[in-house]
Amino acid sequence: MWAELKKGAAVAVWFMFLTLPIMVVKVNPIEQTVVWRWANLVWLGAAVFVLTVVGRYCSRHRTELSAFWPDAHPLLAHPQLKRFLLIVLALLATLFPLFFSSYQINIMTTALMYAVLGLGLNIVVGLAGLLDLGYVAFYAVGAYSYALLNYHFGLGFWAALPIGGLLAAIFGVLLGFPVLRLRGDYLAIVTLGFGEIIRLILENWNDFSFGPSGIAGIPRPGLFGLTLSVDDAIMYIYYLVLLLGLITIFVVNRLRDSRIGRAWIALREDEIACQAMGIDKTKTKLTAFALGASWAGMVGVLFAAKTTFVNPASFTFLESAIILSIVVLGGMGSTVGVVIGALVFILLPEYLRAFADYRMLLFGAIMVGVMVFRPQGIIGNPRRRSYPLPMAAADQEVGHE
C-alpha cells in the first residue's frame, strides 16, 4: 500500500513537471507579463495522484472487479423474468415518443439506427470474423440510392427501401470478391480503401452525385398519402426505425442459429478446417458480406429520409469506426450487446453534454475503462447454444444408421 502511494506521488510530481509550461505559466500578451497559476499545479497533482492510485488498485484487482459483472446473467436466465423485462422494454420503447421532446426522439432514432448498423456489421465482423473497416460505404449506397432514385425517377421511400438494401447487398458481394483471399489486417486495409473509394466517388463525380454539395429536398417517408407535420414525421420515423430494429434482431438471431450462421462462426474459428468440413468458403463469405451490407443499405435509405439531405460528409471513415466500436464495445457476436453498445455509444455523448468541454474526455475514459475491464465487450462471450440432446438411448450403443 505504501509503495502504491509512493508510486502515485512520483507519477503526480512527474506530471506536474511535464505540464508546468501549459498549466502554470501563462503569458499575458497585452500587459507583457507572465502569470504563474500555482493553484492549477496543486489541483493537477492531486488529481493525477488519486487517479494513479485508484487506477493501479483497479488493474491489480481486475479479476475480482470483473466478477461483479458476470458473463452468465443470472437474472436473464429466468425465462419469466426475461419475458417480463422484454415487455417492459417494449412498452418503454413504444411510449417513449409520447413523453419526450422531438430533440430526444431524434437522438433515440439515431441510436436505434446505429443499433441496426451494428447488428449488420456484427454479421460480418462478429460472426464471420471478417474485419470490415469500410462498412459505411454500404450505408452511403443506401442513402444515395434513395436520394438519386427519388431525384431522377421520383421513387418514394417505400419503393427505395428494398432497392437500397438490395443495392447495398450487391455492393457487398462486389467488395467480397476481391477480398476473398484476405484475412485480418489485410482485409481491414482493403475494406478501408473501399469505403474511401465510395466516398471519393460521391464527392468528385459531380454529374452523378452532385459532389460535395449533396442532394437536398429528399421527401420523408409517406404514410398513406397523409401530410405529416415535422414533429409527427420525427415520431413516425422513430417508429419505423424501431420496427426495422426489431426485424433486424429477429432475422439476425435466426440467421445466427441456423446452418448458415454456424458456417460463419466456423469460418471465423478456422478457415482451413472449415473448408475441410465441406463448407464453401466463397459462398459463405459472400453471404456474410451481402447480408451484413443489406442492413446498412436500408438504414441508409432511412437516414436520407430522416435528414432529407445527403452529402458525402456523412459517410466518412469515422462512421465506420463508430459502428465497429459499437460492435466491439457491445460484445462481438452478441445481439443484446450490440444494441446496448449502440445506445451507450450514441446516447452517452449526448447526455454528457452537461460536462461541456470535458464531454469527449470523459467519454474516452469510459470507453477505455470498459475495454480494460471487459475486453470481451459489455455482453461478451455469448453463452454458446446448448442444444437439447436427443434422448435416444443415452448410454447403450445405437445400431448402425
Binding site: V251, R254, L255, S258, R259, I260, G261, R262, A263, I265, A266, E269, D270, I272, A273, C274, Q275, A276, M277, G278, I279, D280, K281, T287, L291, R384, R385, S386, Y387, L389, P390, A392, A393, A394, E397, V398, H400
Partner: protein, 264 residues
C-alpha cells in the same frame, strides 16, 4: 465391370515448394474397406501428401482418382477442398484444428453442413422443412458422438476438452461429412498408451460401422503394425517401400530410413 478399381488411385504425384521437392512421383492405392498406413521419418512429406489429396495444395504433377463405391469415378486434381470433402474424402489434422469456441456438438454439426441445404430464407422463416433438417443434423451428430463415446461432452466448448477427446472429436467431425475414405493425420500423437490402444479398437469399429476405407499417417509403430492391411513408406518425398506389416518390418530400406528409430 471387368475389374474392381481401387477406391483411391494416386499416380505419379509430385509437389514442389519452390526448390524443395516435398513429394516426388508418388503412387498409392487404397481399396474399399482397407486400412492403409503411410509412414516415414519427420519431414518426409506425409502431411503434404494429405494436403494434396484434400485440395489444400495443388500438386505440380500427377493424378488423384477417386472411384466411389456407388460407381461414380472422378479426378480430384484442381478441385477445391470443400468439393473434395463433398465427394467423400474427409480428414483430420496433425495439429488439431477444432472450432475451439464452438461446442462439441456444434463441431460435429459443421461436419454435416455439406450434406444438407437449408438456405437463407429457410433460416429466417424456419419452416417445418428447416426445423426437420436441423433436428436431423443434431440427431446424426449426437449419434456419431455416441459411437465415439464422447457424447457426455456434447455441450462443452471444444477448447475446454482434454487432449485425447479433442483428437477423437476431430475424427467425429470428419465422420459427419459422410466420407468413403477417412484420412487420419497422426491420430495417436500425444496420446498415452491406454488411449492409444483404445484408439486402435475405435478405428477398427469405425471401419466396420461406417463401411469406409482409412488412410492413416502415424509414427506409433505398434499401432501401425496392428491396424494396417498395407503400409507405404516414404522418405524425402519418395516411396521407398510398400507391403504388408510383416514385409515392411523386415525391409532393409525402411530400417535404414528410420536409422533405428523404428521401435516396433
Amino acid at each position: 465391370m471387368s475389374e474392381v478399381r481401387p477406391l483411391l488411385e494416386v499416380r505419379g504425384l509430385s509437389m514442389a515448394f519452390g526448390g524443395l521437392r516435398a513429394l516426388h512421383d508418388l503412387d498409392l492405392e487404397v481399396s474399399c474397406g482397407e486400412i492403409v498406413a503411410l509412414i516415414g521419418p519427420n519431414g518426409a512429406g506425409k502431411t503434404t501428401f494429405f494436403n494434396c489429396l484434400t485440395g489444400v495444395y495443388a500438386p505440380s504433377a500427377g493424378d488423384i482418382l477417386l472411384n466411389r463405391p456407388d460407381g461414380k469415378a472422378l479426378r480430384l486434381n484442381g478441385l477445391l477442398p470443400n468439393q473434395i470433402t463433398k465427394h467423400g474424402l474427409a480428414r483430420t489434422f496433425q495439429n488439431i484444428r477444432l472450432f475451439s469456441e464452438m461446442t462439441v456438438l456444434e463441431n460435429v454439426m459443421i461436419g454435416c453442413h455439406c450434406r444438407h441445404r437449408a438456405g437463407i430464407l429457410g433460416a429466417i422463416l424456419r419452416g417445418p422443412a428447416t426445423r426437420a433438417e436441423e433436428a436431423a443434423i443434431i440427431d446424426k451428430s449426437y449419434t456419431i458422438l455416441q459411437h465415439l463415446r464422447i457424447a457426455q461432452y456434447a455441450n462443452d466448448v471444444a477448447k475446454s476438452l482434454p487432449y485425447g477427446v479433442q483428437r477423437t472429436l476431430e475424427i467425429a467431425r470428419a465422420l459427419a461429412t459422410e466420407p468413403v475414405l477417412l484420412l487420419l493425420d497422426e491420430p495417436a500423437a500425444g496420446l498415452n498408451p491406454t488411449e492409444t490402444s483404445e484408439l486402435d479398437a475405435l478405428i477398427l469399429q469405425i471401419r466396420e460401422r461406417y463401411r469406409l476405407a482409412i488412410l492413416l499417417i502415424e509414427h506409433d509403430m505398434k499401432l501401425v503394425m496392428s491396424l494396417s492391411d498395407r503400409i507405404y513408406v516414404v522418405d524425402y518425398g519418395e516411396r521407398i517401400a510398400q507391403g504388408t506389416p510383416a514385409e515392411i518390418r523386415n525391409n532393409p530400406a525402411v530400417i535404414k530410413a528410420y536409422l533405428g528409430e523404428d521401435d516396433a
